[in-house]
């Protein structure tokens, strides 16, 4: 079937519900020929993006909606995470990650946060962020065919 198929998922902005999205992503990836390690990466990227929407866009407040849309085509698996909360500064996505190398001897360099976006970027082939109409959308794409750069 050389077509794009779409499924939309929605949860409330509560941490307990994020696991449900993780489970669903896992099952959806099971329909592709992706090996388990790749499925785990995609699940991780989606969970990080949804964590961010809950924590940053909605400031941890329950009662809001987080929408996740999956598009599956023979070439790619793409996922959009949408919220209607406070938008992210798009520079967060494009700015090079402050390259603090964790140093065993100096606990000050041990990162407690600020890892979500860079995890998403390493797990997916492309990541975009779009703000408009009171809605913020992070779209991630993972190529299904051919090899991908490490």
């Amino acid at each position: 079937m050389a077509m794009t198929r779409t499924i939309s998922l929605a949860i409330e902005s509560r941490p307990e519900c994020i696991e449900l999205l993780g489970g669903a992503v896992n099952g959806l990836c099971g329909l592709t020929a992706l090996p388990p390690a790749d499925v785990a990466q995609i699940e991780l990227a989606v969970v990080e993006a949804v964590n961010n929407a809950v924590e940053h866009a909605y400031h941890g407040e329950p009662g809001h909606a987080v929408l996740v849309e999956f598009r599956l085509s023979p070439e790619a698996f793409s996922v959009s995470v949408r919220d209607r909360g406070d938008p992210m500064d798009p520079l967060q996505l494009t700015a090079p990650v402050a390259a603090v190398k964790p140093d065993r001897a100096d606990p000050e360099t041990w990162p407690l946060r600020g890892r979500g976006l860079s995890i998403i970027k390493s797990c997916m082939d492309s990541v975009e962020y779009h703000v408009g109409d009171g809605q913020n959308t992070l779209t991630m794409r993972r190529t299904l065919k051919g090899s991908r750069p490490a």
Partner: protein, 111 residues
């Protein structure tokens, strides 16, 4: 997330089981910090049964290590599965956490 705790010659061995995600972070962090506070600050965290972990879960490991370090202790990791191991490598945390496949080796290191 199930947390199991035992002590081996003054070293705290804690096995986590399940998925470590944002929803579990507060509870697991508190549980582990309690162990650090009451014990000697030497912890082996057995991750063999952790099927999934995100960056909020990693931050728990880091903050527990920070607390242990204040007692001149250390936190080492046991048997992370391939997914969790690659998350640790992605975030370069293998620079601070030693990772072991055998409990005996981990305990020897902490002793």
């Amino acid at each position: 997330m199930v947390v199991t705790h035992r002590t081996v010659e003054g070293i705290d061995v804690i096995a986590l089981s399940g998925r470590l995600m944002m929803a579990d972070v507060a509870q697991v962090r508190q549980r582990l910090l309690d162990v650090v506070e009451k014990g000697g600050g030497k912890l082996a965290l057995d991750l063999a049964e952790v099927g999934f972990m995100d960056s909020s879960g990693l931050s728990v490991l880091v903050s527990v290590f920070k607390a242990a370090r204040l007692k001149n202790g250390e936190v080492v990791l046991l048997r992370p599965n391939p997914t969790v191991r690659s998350l640790i490598e992605l975030t370069r945390l293998q620079q601070i956490f030693s990772i072991f496949d055998e409990e005996a080796t981990a305990l020897a290191r902490l002793r």
